[in-house]
Symmetry: C2
Subunit: 198 residues, 2 copies
């Protein structure tokens, strides 16, 4: 971008964002230049305001505007169940189901020795603290069935075992509506191993 230093500066800022390559960064930068100045200012203010308002929920570690997030503060949720997820996006995905009525715990990552992420880098200590009272009856390990997700679930299952709390994991198998002969081998193997009685 040879037009201006200011333009080059915002392209560089957009390139730093996750999932935004050089082409997208350029497209976003040009988009903002085409919008009215007032609209760009409003966008910037919304962003800064949101960042200044939001913190971690003291209990589940999800994002929240107050000390406790909306889910943790909801008295109709069942405090005896904790669903452990890697990321706040997973909370959104599960909440959309309108099925689960317990609480959550966000790890903010997954174990990944290759990337230098160990148990100390995740919100595991905070999870253990929540289990101390003895009121929790089930911990649902809802990490993705990936190498890191499986490793994290396995690690947590071992750590939780001495506490005698029921520990479950989301089912793995063929996606609903998918064709059996298009499923990859690992998925098919999981589906076979975890087959259930009818």
């Amino acid at each position: 971008m040879i037009f201006s230093k200011a333009l080059a500066a915002i392209v560089a800022e957009f390139e730093k964002l996750p999932g935004i390559g050089p082409k997208s960064a350029q497209r976003l930068a040009l988009h903002f230049l085409r919008r009215p100045e007032e609209e760009v200012r409003r966008f910037a203010e919304t962003l800064v305001e949101a960042r200044s308002k939001i913190r971690f929920c003291r209990q589940c570690q999800a994002f929240s505007e107050s000390d406790l997030c909306m889910i943790c503060a909801d008295p109709s949720r069942n405090p005896a169940q904790i669903c452990v997820v890697a990321d706040v996006r997973d909370v959104s995905a599960l909440e959309r189901l309108n099925e689960y009525k317990g609480l959550y715990h966000v790890l903010h990552g997954l174990l990944s020795p290759m990337d230098g992420v160990g148990p100390g880098d995740l919100k595991i200590r905070e999870l253990m603290a929540r289990l101390e009272g003895g009121a929790v009856e089930e911990v649902i390990l809802a990490t993705s069935p990936t190498v890191e997700g499986d490793a994290t679930a396995l690690y947590l299952a071992q750590v939780l075992k001495p506490l005698g709390i029921r520990t479950t994991r989301l089912a793995q198998g063929i996606a609903v509506g998918a064709e059996l002969d298009y499923a990859d081998q690992a998925t098919l193997l999981s589906a076979f191993q975890y087959r259930r009685e009818m």
Copy 2:
């Protein structure tokens, strides 16, 4: 996103951006929440500052921080050649070649009757004004070889004809390094029709 109104507000802002769907908007919003407050503020300021500095170049209609853009203001560029493009991104692409030494003219769009974009919506009047002095010897129509790009080039060629200025169009054909039998029919037909002497 059930965590907070402030979060929902920035997700909604990101979803308005071009090429950003609900998933990417969520990812971007969460990215900013994870960054230090000071960094988010700096990002917002860079954006607002760039927008307030940048305007259209009086001559070529590209983005510029001053009255004339860096290319139009460069005395080493040849003012007898004007390369007409749809978008400022095309100027960047052509400048990277380090081949063309003339000036540009940015139309800011392409003719598209289906979307209600007619000649009056493009910077065609500004182009015609630049040709009035009689100093321009060649107009290179560098719109993409798409339906809209071809239609715009054809329209401009007709408008320019009475002026007696040499009007050229970028070559269409098989991409360099591409296999002939993988080229689509339209490209192969173009390559055949516009074959040149060796």
